[in-house]
């Protein structure tokens, strides 16, 4: 167990399958994370609007989103549990040596997750029988619990990047654990805020994208307008914020993990006046093939001056830094993330401009086409950000303290490959079924809405509706407000605008 040194020999055969398995399960789980953290918040925002304005359309959207949330949360729970198991199944060496140093973050995450599971159950199943505002207030702590859970996870990950809060004894074992320093490591702050902004805007763009597609297909009713506007506005506000946060985390990496920064920017030799490469491939001999070279820019970005000295990969022995291929992967992931992020800033500005000028959505179909794919692009950036931080840290699992190869399980490679195969099949089926069910729900609801439009004169069907009879009276008063407050908010003049466009 105490093999801090002497592991410089070649990697054990089980390393590759263990890595692939971890990467695959995490890459899958991380796609659900934005929704686990931010969908409750966005839903509650819509819910609040529905209750405050007595807006039945907003309530309807919130109800439907909560049904989606139910399925997504369940899949997120099980794929997340798998990750907890994998700490032991794949990386027992890391947990055995460092568990008591950095594990506490997970303790926070566990109880936050507990709160979330309870609150979400009350929220999802409370629509029918709880009093409307009681129901809302019981749901309100959900986003806080989600942020708390994220705190735990990010604390653990940032510790792996900039480990602290311990000293090593003669045998290389951590002693004198200082929990506060182990939680609040240098990378924690930047990583946390970058993550929070990232997941909220991703969830916002994905949800808005669903209604952007509907809008492009000609469904321009208030339901689609509201379903688009609320999440898109949240995401659009956060996009420029995220741009700044992203820039600042890159500089934190420059200061606290210089070798990772060198990998991400494919910098071979330490130098000033370092050029920035957009894409391009780092060769094992340090040359760079392809890519767009912008002189001086990397130094300027890292320290606001072309004289800034940027540490190169060659400052550490080859065994202590990412390989050329790994550096290229991290570099591409980083560039894709930055490019998509920049494009999203433009999209947000477009939206903001139209809103300031006309208090209305942009008219261009191209705007909605971009909005429709913004969600998918955001999910791609989430993957890219994660690849950047994880691949850029190689070959360390605990930066400069433990190699991935030292942490890996002793289980035979063949068992791991077999498990990898099983897990891929299971995940493909589960995620496939999950998507199918979401699409079916959407179709079912759309058909129901279309039927409703045909027979709108027939009035609401009988049966006990959520929140009882309140809805109908509230709806009556909304119509009155709408008539008086034309164009006070983006949603209000809709009936007219739609009529004009059809």
């Amino acid at each position: 167990m105490n093999s801090a040194i002497g592991f410089l020999t070649e990697a054990p055969p089980q390393l590759l399958p263990a890595r692939e398995l971890m990467a695959f399960t995490l890459a899958s789980h991380i796609l659900l994370v934005p929704f686990g953290v931010a969908l409750p918040a966005i839903t509650l925002l819509m819910h609040h609007r529905g209750l405050r304005k007595g807006d039945a359309v907003a309530l309807q959207l919130a109800r439907r989103w909560s049904v989606v949330m139910a399925v997504q949360f369940a899949i997120g729970i099980v794929t997340g549990t798998v990750l907890s198991f994998e700490f032991g199944l794949l990386w027992p060496g890391m947990m055995g040596r460092w568990g008591d140093v950095f594990g506490l973050g997970f303790g926070v995450e566990a109880w936050a997750f507990f709160l979330e599971a309870i609150l979400i159950a009350i929220y999802l199943y409370g629509w029918r029988r709880l009093k409307p505002w009681t129901h809302f207030w019981l749901g309100l702590p959900l986003p806080l619990a989600a942020l708390m859970g994220a705190f735990g996870i990010i604390a653990a990950n940032s510790w792996m990047n900039t480990p602290g809060g311990f000293t090593l004894d003669a045998g290389g074992n951590p002693v004198d654990v200082n929990v506060r320093q182990a939680v609040f490591t240098p990378m924690f702050g930047p990583e946390y805020w970058h993550f929070v902004a990232g997941v909220i805007l991703t969830a916002g763009y994905v949800v808005a994208g669903v209604y952007a597609v509907g809008w492009l297909r000609g469904r321009r009713d208030r339901y689609h307008r509201l379903g688009f506007t609320v999440p898109f506005t949240v995401a659009a506000i956060l996009t420029p914020v995220q741009f700044i946060l992203g820039d600042s985390i890159a500089r934190s990496v420059f200061h606290d993990q210089p070798v990772k920064f060198a990998a991400v920017e494919i910098v071979w030799n330490t130098d000033t006046h370092v050029a920035e490469y957009i894409f391009g491939r780092l060769n094992p001999d340090g040359t760079i093939s392809g890519g767009l070279r912008i002189p001086q820019l990397d130094s300027i970005l890292a320290g606001f001056s072309p004289d800034t000295e940027v540490t190169g990969l060659t400052t550490v022995p080859a065994g202590n830094r990412p390989t050329a291929t790994e550096a290229t992967i991290a570099h591409w992931a980083f560039d894709i993330m930055v490019i998509i992020g920049s494009l999203l800033v433009l999209l947000a500005l477009w939206y903001g401009w139209c809103w300031l000028r006309r208090r209305d959505l942009p008219r261009s179909r191209w705007f909605f086409r971009c909005a429709a794919i913004a969600g998918a692009a955001c999910l791609l950036t989430v993957e890219c950000g994660w690849i950047t931080t994880e691949v850029g840290r190689q070959p360390w699992i605990v930066y400069q303290n433990m190699r991935v190869a030292e942490a890996v399980t002793g289980t035979r490679a063949s068992s791991l490959w077999a498990m990898f195969g099983i897990v891929v099949v299971v995940y493909v089926l589960v995620f496939g079924a999950f998507l199918t069910i979401l699409l079916k729900m959407r179709t079912r609801w759309r058909i129901a809405d279309e039927q409703l439009l045909d027979v709108s004169a027939a009035g609401p069907p009988e049966g006990d509706v959520p929140y009882g009879p309140r809805l109908t009276t509230a709806a009556g008063s909304t119509e009155a407000t709408e008539a008086t407050e034309v164009a006070a908010a983006p949603d209000h003049g809709t009936g007219r605008a739609d009529g004009g466009e059809r």
């Binding site: 139910a70 949360f73 199944l89 027992p92 568990g99 109880w111 079924a433």
Partner: protein
């Protein structure tokens, strides 16, 4: 009895395992009865009840497991490392089972076509059987002393007699808990026929537990000497006897259809057995190679872990009570199709010409 901070954390770990055995166990049991409920026609009503009884709380019950894992790796890193290295296969299979189970259950609820529901239901039910078996087998294997720090994965560690019996006992215990809770739920949902149906199954599973326990006593005598002794003497024996009393009381209470009390005694019975097992292992986490003190992590971390646990109890406790109370009072109901289709009045007014 409690000598230091590491014993406190060991107690917290045991409490979390107990909570998972009872909360998660009830849900696994529901899955077990889903599996054996028969064809889609005959099993329709039991499955309907299982769906409704499980749905608001199963995710919460599942989180106990995450708590167990976190306390293991933060409080006793060496224990975590050893268990997951030596019990690799059963734990890997349990993890896959957990995914299939959760996904199967959540997706079945949202599926309308019978064929689809059958597939998801089967996946849910089969993995509800396998997951507790593998978890139980891993625990049983630890009790035999075949595992020590440094042991690598081998089939022997979890495919021996004690492991198999413990796995089967775990499944039987979950089936018992599931049946008792479903009996109570059947009364709550006014389904008298199902109350009788599940009461009968609760008795059956109690019989199965008794048989397995007797076989287990014989098997563990030589195979898991240390734990066997702990369970047949001193405090371990007292707790086991109390568990037997609780089990008999459950059977009697079910006969009288006092389902509310039966739930309590059933949980008490299972919890007592788990606690008895934990105490029988003292002072070892893995008999007889790793003691609580040897496995304990840094003292600072353990103190913080106590703090985190206290916060969890203060924050989660009341909400957990609220959730179970709302649930048993019927305040929590799923949205029906009609709710989601229900006309938003504004949209209706949207389609008609504006005033």
């Amino acid at each position: 009895m409690i000598s230091g901070i590491s014993d406190v954390i060991a107690g917290v770990l045991l409490a979390a395992v107990t909570a998972y055995a009872c909360g998660g166990g009830t849900d696994y049991g529901a899955g077990f009865w889903d599996l054996v409920a028969g064809g889609s026609e005959r099993g329709e009503r039991p499955r309907w009840l299982i769906d409704h009884a499980m749905e608001p709380v199963w995710e919460t019950n599942n989180v106990w497991l995450i708590f167990v894992l976190v306390i293991m790796w933060t409080g006793f890193p060496v224990l975590f490392q050893t268990v997951f290295s030596a019990m690799w296969l059963p734990l890997a299979l349990a993890a896959v089972g957990l995914v299939l189970r959760g996904a199967g259950f959540a997706l079945r609820k949202q599926t309308r076509l019978l064929a689809g529901r059958r597939v998801y239901g089967a996946v849910f039910a089969v993995s509800s059987l396998l997951t507790p078996f593998f978890l139980g087998a891993a625990v049983g294997g630890l009790a035999t002393g075949r595992v020590a720090p440094g042991t690598t994965a081998s089939a022997d560690a979890w495919s021996n007699g004690t492991s198999v019996i413990t796995g089967l006992l775990t499944v039987a215990a979950t089936a018992f808990l599931g049946a008792v809770f479903l009996t109570a739920d059947a009364r709550r949902f006014d389904a008298a026929d199902l109350a009788g149906y599940f009461r009968l199954r609760a008795w059956y599973s109690l019989g199965a537990i008794a048989v397995l326990a007797i076989i287990g006593l014989a098997v563990t005598r030589d195979d898991a000497r240390y734990v066997h002794n702990g369970l047949t003497s001193g405090i371990g024996l007292i707790l086991v006897l109390l568990a037997v009393v609780a089990a008999v009381a459950t059977a009697v209470l079910l006969y009288r259809m006092a389902t509310g009390l039966a739930r309590i005694t059933a949980v008490a019975g299972v919890a007592l057995v788990v606690v008895a097992w934990g105490l029988a292992q003292r002072p070892y986490l893995i008999p007889t190679s790793l003691t609580v003190d040897q496995a304990a992590g840094a003292a600072t971390t353990l103190r913080w872990l106590v703090l985190v646990t206290l916060i969890a109890v203060v924050l989660v406790g009341p909400l957990l009570v609220l959730l179970y109370r709302l649930d048993t009072r019927g305040a929590l109901q799923p949205l029906t199709d009609a709710d989601l289709r229900q006309p938003p009045a504004d949209q209706a007014s949207d389609s008609s010409p504006p005033s």
